[in-house]
């Protein structure tokens, strides 16, 4: 492989990693508060549909992107109602949210298949995009990609250095102690999942507004589940999520490129790559890990005091 082929491949890596990155960051924020969310796939696809419909209706991609985030928040609120208010099982609620979300998006989206919507296009950053190699790889994209360069450090700062971020993490690590200290654990958990859902919605909208500009059923194609796996791979840290998302972006870009160039490998075997890689990544991350990095109370509901 020559340099002329490598640079476009790496640029495509960044682009196809971006939706997964949004979703992974959302899931990390969500799970830091102690609520497990297996509904990422469902929330993402609702975001994708909402963004697409909003872009068609308003003609304004930026507004549509924002609305998609809010749609993600609304979808994930169902999970909040079931798990936080009604103390339902978080694993099953997340699965149900995915079934519901995918069904809902296909139900409303079937009539949109093949239609297009105004979306984002490339906007090279002056000067930065002229740097050799780095420029074309990182600074010749749509604005939504640039946004993901800012979110991980902000999220890291927020979770580790603000009062609110520490409260949110306490709700995920030691809910009983946090309650004893006078923190409103359920409140922090609500913020955790709603903000998390916002980012998952954005990840879905990236697919319909920037990645394809077209609606197809099952647009997310398992990316939400890959995000769930990447949260574990990233040890619940925003910085490592970037690395994980680009790893998957790379494999997806490579697989598309190989299909386009017409290799002898059948396409169904190429399409298996990201899913097989997810399993490998999980094996790798559990092998590397000494103690569990998951928030200690992840998946357990707050029992009412009596």
């Amino acid at each position: 492989m020559t340099v002329e082929m490598l640079i476009p491949l790496l640029a495509a890596t960044v682009q196809s990693g971006t939706p997964i990155l949004y979703a992974t960051l959302g899931a990390i924020f969500n799970e830091k508060s102690g609520v497990l969310n297996l509904g990422v796939e469902g929330v993402m696809i609702i975001g994708a549909l909402a963004g697409f419909v909003a872009a068609q209706a308003t003609g304004n991609p930026a507004l549509a992107f924002l609305l998609a985030g809010l749609a993600g928040t609304a979808a994930v609120a169902i999970h909040g109602i079931v798990c936080l208010w009604f103390r339902g099982n978080q694993v099953v609620s997340g699965l149900a949210l995915t079934i519901l979300g995918v069904g809902f998006a296909n139900y409303l989206g079937t009539s949109l298949v093949g239609q297009s919507a105004p979306g984002f296009s490339k906007m090279p950053i002056p000067l930065l995009s002229d740097i050799p190699a780095i420029g074309p790889i990182f600074f010749n994209h749509d604005p939504l990609v640039y946004l993901t360069y800012l979110i991980p450090p902000c999220m890291w700062l927020f979770l580790n250095f603000t009062r609110f971020g520490l409260g949110l993490r306490a709700a995920g690590e030691y809910p009983a102690a946090a309650t004893a200290a006078g923190l409103n654990v359920q409140g922090y958990r609500w913020v955790g999942i709603l903000v998390g859902g916002f980012f998952m919605g954005l990840g879905g909208a990236y697919l319909s507004l920037a990645y394809t500009h077209l609606w197809t059923n099952n647009l997310t194609g398992g990316r939400g589940w890959i995000a769930v796996a990447l949260v574990i791979f990233a040890f619940w840290r925003p910085g490592r999520a970037v690395f994980g998302a680009y790893l998957f972006g790379g494999i997806m870009a490579l697989q598309l490129r190989m299909q386009a160039q017409g290799t002898a490998v059948p396409s169904s075997l190429l399409l298996m790559l990201p899913y097989a890689l997810t399993i490998l990544v999980l094996v790798f991350s559990s092998w590397r890990r000494g103690v569990s990095d998951a928030p200690a109370a992840l998946g357990t509901n707050v029992e009412p005091a009596d």
Partner: protein
């Protein structure tokens, strides 16, 4: 100031938990009605069409029973794993592998009589499905990987493997380019019961359901499984072979889903083609949870959710509602029932609060 307090119930709710279940299902029907109305479909007509389409005629009930067969077997499988608190989300993939294993036998031995080929197909379907369940179990026990994600990713891989086979090596040269294998020989097809459209797989379901129930009720391993499911830590402490039990339940789980794959390929479509994958494995999760993992209730819930699938098809014909509406309803039912669990497990009490 009056506030609501939630207090853990000391005694089980008893018969009133049925009331909670029915209220939850009624709520999900109501919400589905609203969704229909928002899209401009008359909601009452929609729900009526759904029920009469799923259960309203002999033909509808037979069709619902036919669809209940694979759902029941997959659900029985995932319920066994769920009992041990192993989250097997992989029935879909294990089903696909079962169909692949059965098809491999049917295509390899087209000349054999039924009493040879059918057992071969069943055994291979169980081995293939079971193997697809054992891999995530071993990864979980050896490397602490998350079985939810591994089983799910293996679903995607299984479906792509099925595509690879029917688009490639197993494709029928006379199919005019359609991705499908040749039709099985008559001996490799499970027939229909008397003058109905229902195949003998229904009887397989009854036998396997009783066997699973008896396994938990009467065998030592079954007892150990029940004990481990209640408390993993206590099971380890009592010296139960927990690692082995995890592998065992996943093998059983996968084998049952594999059996369902065998029946779908052999009795329903008589060959292998991509349309065999319609998400029974995911519906099975909903069914197992609704039925609280009890084999008899799984039978009832499988029939009801199969009826929902058939009913949605009739809504599609009558009122042009997209078939994906079934997924929405499944999700809504599951979420309502989960939320209803609050009333089963806790007591609500309004009380006066003096401070603040």
């Amino acid at each position: 100031m009056i506030r609501l307090r939630i207090i853990k119930r000391q005694e089980p709710l008893g018969w009133r938990s049925c009331l909670v279940l029915f209220s939850a299902i009624a709520l999900s029907l109501f919400l589905s009605g609203i969704l229909l109305w928002l899209r401009g479909t008359p909601p009452i007509e929609g729900i009526v069409s759904l029920f009469s389409g799923g259960f309203g005629s002999r033909w509808a009930i037979e069709d619902s029973l036919l669809k209940a067969i694979p759902i029941f077997l997959c659900s029985l499988g995932v319920a066994i794993a769920f009992r041990l608190q192993i989250w097997n989300i992989g029935a879909e993939g294990q089903f696909a592998l079962g169909a692949i294993g059965a098809t491999w036998m049917a295509l390899s031995f087209p000349e054999q009589p039924a009493w040879v080929i059918l057992p071969l197909m069943i055994i291979m379907a169980m081995i293939f499905g079971g193997m697809w369940g054992v891999v995530p179990a071993v990864l979980r026990q050896k490397l602490q990987t998350n079985e939810i994600i591994v089983t799910l990713m293996m679903n995607y891989i299984a479906i792509l493997l099925l595509d690879y086979l029917v688009f490639g090596v197993w494709k029928d040269p006379t199919s005019f380019g359609f991705p499908m294998t040749p039709t099985f020989s008559d001996a490799a097809i499970v027939g229909k019961i008397a003058s109905t459209s229902i195949h003998w797989g229904l009887v397989h379901c009854v036998i396997l359901g009783v066997l699973v129930w008896a396994f938990f009720r009467f065998t030592k391993t079954g007892f150990e499984l029940k004990a481990s499911g209640d408390s993993v830590r206590a099971a380890r402490y009592a010296g139960l072979p927990y690692n082995w039990l995890v592998v065992l339940v996943m093998a059983m789980s996968g084998a049952l889903a594999g059996w369902a794959g065998f029946l779908e390929s052999s009795a329903t479509i008589h060959r292998l083609q991509p349309s065999i994958m319609v998400g029974y494995g995911y519906t099975a999760i909903v069914v197992a949870w609704l039925a609280r993992l009890n084999p008899l209730s799984i039978g009832i819930a499988a029939f009801l959710l199969a009826g929902l699938r058939v009913g949605v098809e009739s809504m599609q014909l009558d009122l042009q509602v997209p078939a994906d509406f079934g997924g929405i309803m499944e999700g809504l039912i599951l979420l309502s029932v989960l939320a209803g669990g609050l009333f089963t497990n806790y007591r609500l009490k309004w009380e006066k609060k003096h401070d603040s």
